[in-house]
Symmetry: C2
Subunit: 441 residues, 2 copies
Amino acid sequence: MQSTKPPSGTRDFLPEDIRRREYVIGVVRGVYERYGYEPLETPAFENIETLLGKYGEEGNKLIFKILKRGEHEASGSADMALRYDLTVPLARVVAEYQSKLPAIFKRYQIQPVWRADRPQKGRFREFFQCDIDSIGSVSPIVEAELLDAVSDVLQALKFNDFTIRLNHRRLLTALLEVAGVPEPSHGDALIAIDKLDKIGEAGVVKELSDKGIDGATAGRVLASFAVPADAAAGTLNLVLQGHGSGTAALKELWTIAGLTTSAATRIKIDPSLARGLSYYTGAIMEIAAPGLAGSLGGGGRYDNLVGMFLGRNIPACGFSLGLERIIVVMTENNMFPATLNSGAVDVVVAFMDEDSKSQAIAFASELRNERVRAEVYPELTKKFDKALKAATGRGAKYMAVFGENERASNQVSVRDLLKREALPALPRDRAAGEIARLLTS
Amino acid sequence: MQSTKPPSGTRDFLPEDIRRREYVIGVVRGVYERYGYEPLETPAFENIETLLGKYGEEGNKLIFKILKRGEHEASGSADMALRYDLTVPLARVVAEYQSKLPAIFKRYQIQPVWRADRPQKGRFREFFQCDIDSIGSVSPIVEAELLDAVSDVLQALKFNDFTIRLNHRRLLTALLEVAGVPEPSHGDALIAIDKLDKIGEAGVVKELSDKGIDGATAGRVLASFAVPADAAAGTLNLVLQGHGSGTAALKELWTIAGLTTSAATRIKIDPSLARGLSYYTGAIMEIAAPGLAGSLGGGGRYDNLVGMFLGRNIPACGFSLGLERIIVVMTENNMFPATLNSGAVDVVVAFMDEDSKSQAIAFASELRNERVRAEVYPELTKKFDKALKAATGRGAKYMAVFGENERASNQVSVRDLLKREALPALPRDRAAGEIARLLTS
């Protein structure tokens, strides 16, 4: 027998999964659109040369490639590849539609991407990314607006305790220079510092030493980077010893923080935030939540990437919300509104004899006109228990029943499925409105 | 220079495209959920053996296949394939989650599918399908409910003039038998009849004759199938001459039509509706609209397909709305609500000097709290014209301006961009509320 599981690393989304995801996406959309970000979507696959070489050697291996078709299928070669992130397609769109897009282009994009990673708990081969990017301006208002928007989203989703860690690519470089780390070792040093949370000071020193950075330098690195976040401003200015671009970068971070509104109280300038990606050129940011390893999202300014297909630099700043992780955290902490778990329908309508069928259908239609979710149990229900079981299984709150007695008395029998008791019979012509009222009260 | 177009047969969806699609999907979801259909989504790709052999020889060629990865990439063979329709994944889901799904499973699924067809006007390689299916019951209430739901969707989208063509697989067979078409020619005959609208009676006779069906038989076929839809009931009973399963099928269609509510006045029993797909086993249906070649959607009962992975028949009835075509028709006929074309933001806030920056940002935030879509023009606007041009380009209705004068007088200057005139300056503390009021009045 053939397997009926979804392919390794992918998921089927059953109704409750989709309700949760759509709820989060609805909140994200609503907030982002209030900030003037506009929706964009790109095809699931791109021409293969659009993607190859954009994600490094390791990335190339993780791209899903699509076989040529027809007579070329036998060649075994690929001409297209599945979307791997939302940034390269954005760069392509910016190049293709230059004349149609506004000079400052603010877009959000929420679509699945595919990566041939080894599947493991919480890591999938098909997963949603949720990006906002602002293209075309170097103003620090761009960063501030991104942070406010993201902060509004998380607050609307009832995250109360998050922190926005803020750092700057050139501040990182300055701190390494001041500590005396030779330029070729900057990358290694940043990787080590990024692990400070996980491996502690001793671990960082050991890793720096493994990379050939002596103990005295490692000590200075720690002294700079392990500055407690709250005290960062003053101390950092001391540490920087007047380093020009470092001081300017720090000032830029304070400017950004000062321009935020709803994000303002969340921001901590944190010199130990490195973020893995090498393409950032300015501010970098990440959302931390207490008790959560990893982040709820991150981003930063990257002025050299979006222009890749145009052969010139285009200023850009973006933020990627960890949509999948947000859903996991919200599920574990019961943060979804109770209405999301309200079953498939509110009312199941059953009929006890053939002659009551039309009544049942007409009544379900009346309920829908009252904006009640209603369905007819489509089989003849001689045995009341079977319909009752089906209605309960559907998560319905009420079951309405039509039979010979109801037709004779021009009434509807209604059962409250949560309280497991019958309501007093309702007059036929007022029953739909009455049930609608009960459901919203 | 590398091409920056999307791959052949695919599309980038810019903001206005997405707003239109999301509007239609929102209406579809709302109606289907009121009928108790629940959302389902499946991965973009399936294991290749799940799809191969399910769509005939021609279908196999049109499936996009994904190359194996890592050391197996060089083999040039594929292990997965992109979703080709929503029915085979549904059958897989029904098999996999039997114990979790209700005995009567009603789902809707709105996702893209991919087919390596030759791209042409209006035909894409990536396009959305929008299916509802009801699994597990043979009751004609299932068909009636589908038709009512689809009818409600189209009416909610302001389609006023559509017709639901209704026919039955066994009625088709009966009519061919009565006309004396030998069983092996039934398929050919149905293909010819299906073209009646396009090629007329003479064309059908010619095509039947090409397939070896003699003139007298062809005449009888036409006499049966070309019955005007409105007159179909009585005439068809005469034509059927007491044919057992044909008469029963016709009766079933009348039962279905009699069980509908909102669809009731739209239904025409139409013996010339054949629909291409061979898997239907009962009622078949299609939505026609005046002036529209082709349909807005179609479906029917197919009791032998959904159980394919379980090795047994499972009753099923489904309907696929032509989402892409619906969007085209609605665009061409201006059927979208005017609010969809309301630009990226309602208000652009500009600042004329550095000291006004924070005011501008705070004001944009106040506007958003009033549920107004607002953004700050992030560049310093010494030249008023540049900000004005940007604000107009964003589709904003108002531009609010902060400068030295506004700060001194504690006011906001507001320009109505549609009327191209300045409003009287607004007091700072009431300005956001006032603009919100203007936008909704």
